[in-house]
Symmetry: C2
Subunit: 244 residues, 2 copies
């Protein structure tokens, strides 16, 4: 299967063959990381950039009151901390959720990437999309009820996983605990459970183990007020095949 970073960037625009090879080359020596391990901690000044190749990771912040808020999911093809070039210290932490495969890319190799115009533009695009996703999460937590909020998240993950080839139709693997989901959407794990029960009961989803199936994607999107628009996928993407 194609490199997830390549797939993701090509959701913006196709890359020259040479760029794809560069990306492949950079991903040569990945390492495996267990679940629930910190990749970068708040306050760190990391020296290389982490790229997720397999599994789910997240950005999160711990509060004095003991609560944790997850502010982003990092899925295959996502960079952890491109900020590194500008900012001194991390203002949040990053941890794996599931077992992951990741590469630590040293600064100079990242520069090789950004010297390729097509990649540079695509990375800029990706960072704008990340910001849009963040905004959408804020909207969800601030203004959507629990059910819509979770349904919306499931739709978003579907679309994002599709672009890296990890979802077909409405089905994908969601290697995440209900408690982690709770820290994501700002609810208790118990209430998350209630919502999932409800979504199951009304026939919207199926979720056994880590296998999620959205039974009627359009319906769930309508219900949760999901509008793909904010993911800024090129027209060639989304429902159809990635551009050749």
């Amino acid at each position: 299967m194609a490199n997830p970073l390549t797939r993701k960037l090509e959701a913006f625009a196709p890359l020259p063959e040479a760029d794809r090879r560069l990306i492949d080359d950079i991903c040569r020596n990945p390492r495996d990381v267990g679940p629930r391990e910190d990749l970068i901690r708040e306050g760190d000044d990391p020296r290389d950039v982490q790229l997720i190749l397999e599994g789910f990771a997240c950005r999160y912040k711990l509060l004095p009151n003991g609560r944790r808020q997850i502010t982003a999911y990092l899925i295959p093809g996502d960079f952890c901390d491109l900020h590194v070039f500008i900012l001194r210290a991390m203002d949040h932490s990053i941890a794996t959720l599931s077992p992951c495969r990741a590469v630590a890319i040293p600064r100079h190799r990242v520069l090789e990437l950004t010297e390729r115009p097509a990649i540079a533009r695509a990375l800029w695009w990706a960072s704008l999309v990340d910001e849009a996703v963040l905004r959408e999460w804020l909207v969800g937590v601030g203004a959507r009820g629990a059910d819509e909020r979770i349904a919306h998240l499931l739709c978003e993950l579907l679309m994002r996983l599709r672009t890296v080839g990890l979802a077909t139709d409405g089905a994908y693997e969601l290697p995440i605990t209900q408690a982690e989901l709770a820290d994501t959407v700002g609810l208790t794990h118990i209430h998350v459970n209630r919502v999932l029960q409800r979504l199951r009961a009304e026939g919207s989803i199926t979720l056994k183990g880590k296998q999620l199936v959205i039974l009627d994607v359009d319906k769930l999107m309508a219900f949760s007020g999901f509008d793909v628009n904010y993911l800024h996928l090129s027209e060639s993407n989304g429902k159809k095949e990635p551009c050749r």
Copy 2:
């Protein structure tokens, strides 16, 4: 008073004199915009970039359920939509809150800015800070109680306004309605009112008309779990004078 954009960017690193002059030049013909006016609407493909010179504006999103979520405050020195160069359509709207003075900067002039290395780096920094602020808002809405959430926002605004010279000590002008605050923090305007009453009663703040005074800044920061860190101000900034 110095140009707010210059002041803001110099919170990252000092700019060469020529860069400052360029910024001044670009801000030559501002226009006045009344309160509650849309500057850019969701779906638009705007042709120039808006820069706020005076007043408060905001990014927001309207939901099918009729609620509105404000996802960012734009204060003097903030750009509205640098995304323009990459993305086709806005995925959210931008409106003024108070009366504003703004400049519409055509694309080619923005390019002049980004050709100056010091400015380009500072703009990159600014966009990373915007993202950090967004994350912090998400943390607030997702994991802080109403009182801390609002207190935290007031602290954040204090720090941001200080860097553009619009706050001294704990005092600044907050030209925003309680209903707008409510749409920001994900509460009802009625509950926002309750919280403000409480903060007043316990002697944390003073707020008459649009004049806000935080009576004991350190105390309010401690209470709300505010850690300046995420604004990534250079050490020379924050409490002290901007670097000469």
